[in-house]
């Protein structure tokens, strides 16, 4: 099913025309109402009147998370506070929180986008949606909630936490769609099992999971344990919240970006150069319909690539691949850019290696050192020291070959690398710079 058949299946040329028209209107508006954008454009010697094409658009400066922080709390708003009906904010664990605002029309746009997303993920107006995204300043809970209501489904605003009560609700209310973070979905499965509640007997058909990166292996685990079809949803509060992009349940292969509202680009995170379709780099978004909080060429710090191939679901919208990492995680080791996800790929290529690893970066005699801790498992353990040393050498050689950086590999005992509830700590950077 497609919620907005007209806009989700536009011919590409028609879509481009709409994008350009909306882009120009947005640029004119931010130039007139947000001092930050006016100053940036002027510093780059560009006015909205100079933008006639997507090529011109690529000359505009980027906006970063730091820019949003510098304009804390409301400096980036493009409308008077009178017109703002909702405020959300990021958690701010790595600095000042990022504050975003919505007009009444923005809230309606967002609800429609989430209704599209839920539909792509398998939901219909007849479904009961168990919404376990947190409600509050975080955009997840309310975003999914408004979308579910817009779609006409029945929404259970259960929010996060109190997991045992959630299991009782799932058993008694018979929800058919689960919306939560993927890690919370697995937690629900564990708690249900402890309580003797079998997901096989529950009525879930589809699960729409996002707000954190998750792997294909994790999808398989969720589908097996929760007996549902799992799709990935993407969004970030700076752009609008959840509902920027969604995987269709038909293909489960990449997330359709709602390009009639957001223009995606992939750039080289170091040079800022725009990369062609298929190449991996940092995802950048420009919102072209938002009123209260438009963003121009906002660097998401998420690493992915764009896929222009037609999809079996009928949508003509570009697909972005699953997020493979964050530029925040990028390490520069002796001048070489290294992402933990690249090391992970190298490790997964080697027979018998488990995806439990940690990178320790340090500096000795003014030179960066990289040590990769890899857990020994039943599958790669040997009673012979030389075999284990060969394994270390093989990993080290592969890292050097694929990434061009020398690494010392150290085998550690199983479970030596701490497992966390949420994201594993992959990098310990001890360098004092």
């Amino acid at each position: 099913m497609i919620y907005d058949i007209e806009f989700e299946t536009l011919p590409r040329e028609a879509l481009a025309a709409i994008q350009l028209r909306r882009l120009k209107a947005t640029l004119e508006r931010v130039y007139a109402t947000v001092p930050f954008y006016r100053n940036r454009f002027e510093a780059a010697g560009i006015t909205p009147n100079d933008i006639h094409s997507f090529e011109d658009f690529q000359n505009l400066p980027f906006t970063t998370k730091q820019d949003l922080r510098d304009n804390y709390p409301f400096g980036m708003f493009a409308v008077p506070m009178d017109n703002v009906v909702r405020i959300h904010a990021s958690s701010g664990t790595t600095g000042k929180p990022t504050v975003v605002g919505y007009t009444a029309r923005d809230i309606d746009t967002w609800a429609k986008l989430m209704a599209r997303a839920l539909t792509a993920g398998g939901a219909t107006s007849r479904d009961i949606i168990h919404n376990a995204y947190g409600y509050g300043l975080f955009t997840g809970g309310l975003g999914a909630h408004y979308g579910a209501e817009k779609l006409g489904a029945s929404v259970i605003p259960v929010s996060g936490g109190n997991t045992k009560r959630q299991v009782v609700i799932m058993r008694d209310f018979g929800p058919t769609i689960l919306t939560s973070t993927p890690s919370y979905a697995l937690h629900l499965a564990e708690v249900a099992e402890e309580m003797g509640v079998s997901f096989e007997k529950l009525k879930f058909r589809y699960g729409i999971f996002g707000a954190e990166p998750w792997s294909e292996q994790m999808r398989q685990e969720i589908e097996r344990k929760l007996h549902l079809t799992a799709v990935d949803i993407y969004g970030l509060s700076e752009v609008i919240g959840p509902g920027v992009a969604i995987e269709c349940h038909e293909a489960q292969n990449g997330l359709h970006i709602f390009e009639d509202h957001f223009i995606p680009e992939i750039i080289d995170p170091v040079t800022g150069k725009v990369l062609p379709y298929g190449e991996t780099g940092e995802l950048v978004f420009t919102s072209i319909t938002k009123e209260a909080f438009p963003v121009i060429r906002y660097r998401t710090r998420d690493i992915t690539s764009l896929n222009p191939e037609p999809c079996i679901c009928g949508r003509t919208l570009l697909r972005m691949n699953k997020i493979s990492g964050r530029t925040d995680d990028m390490l520069i080791i002796r001048g070489v850019n290294v992402f933990p996800s690249q090391i992970e790929s190298v490790l997964m290529e080697i027979e018998g290696i488990e995806p439990h690893y940690q990178l320790i970066v340090d500096r000795a005699d003014n030179l960066d050192t990289l040590t990769v801790h890899v857990e020994v498992s039943e599958r790669n353990f040997s009673d012979e020291v030389k075999v284990l040393q060969q394994l270390e050498k093989k990993i080290s050689y592969s890292i050097k070959e694929y990434l061009g950086v020398s690494a010392k590999v150290k085998l550690v005992e199983p479970k030596a690398i701490a497992r966390s509830e949420g994201k594993a700590v992959r990098v310990i950077d001890k360098r004092k710079i």
């Binding site: 039943e378 353990f381 009673d383 012979e384 020291v385 150290k410 005992e413």
Partner: protein, 143 residues
Amino acid sequence: MHVKQISVFLENKAGRLSEVTAILSEAKINIRALSVADTSDFGVLRLIVNDNQKALEALKNNGFSVGVTDVVAIEVADRPGGLHQILDLLHNAQINVEYMYAFVQQNGNHAVMIFRFDHIDEAVKLLEQNGLTVIDGAKVYTM
């Protein structure tokens, strides 16, 4: 014929070995022989115990990486040249000894040594043909 040896991966950290012996002691397992091979980062502990199954379970349940390897227990004449006779035979037949270590207990007048060969069956055949005694696993565990 072969003896089952348990090997355990250990990081080079203070107290790690004593954790293994504590686990085995709690499981009432008797260690018959052992050796440790180490590098600067890690070590491999090799054990012959009286109850392989119980030892494996206890160690695995405590999160250790554990392996099982076939090794051979051989009687070595307790006199000068006793070990040399064996190694010489193996060398001439081009059979590699990956490692070896001594058993605590004697078998009658003989010392007992544990050998890990690259070609175990050839090695056993060669030694027996030359009149050496290869001790059965079942006997080794309770010797």
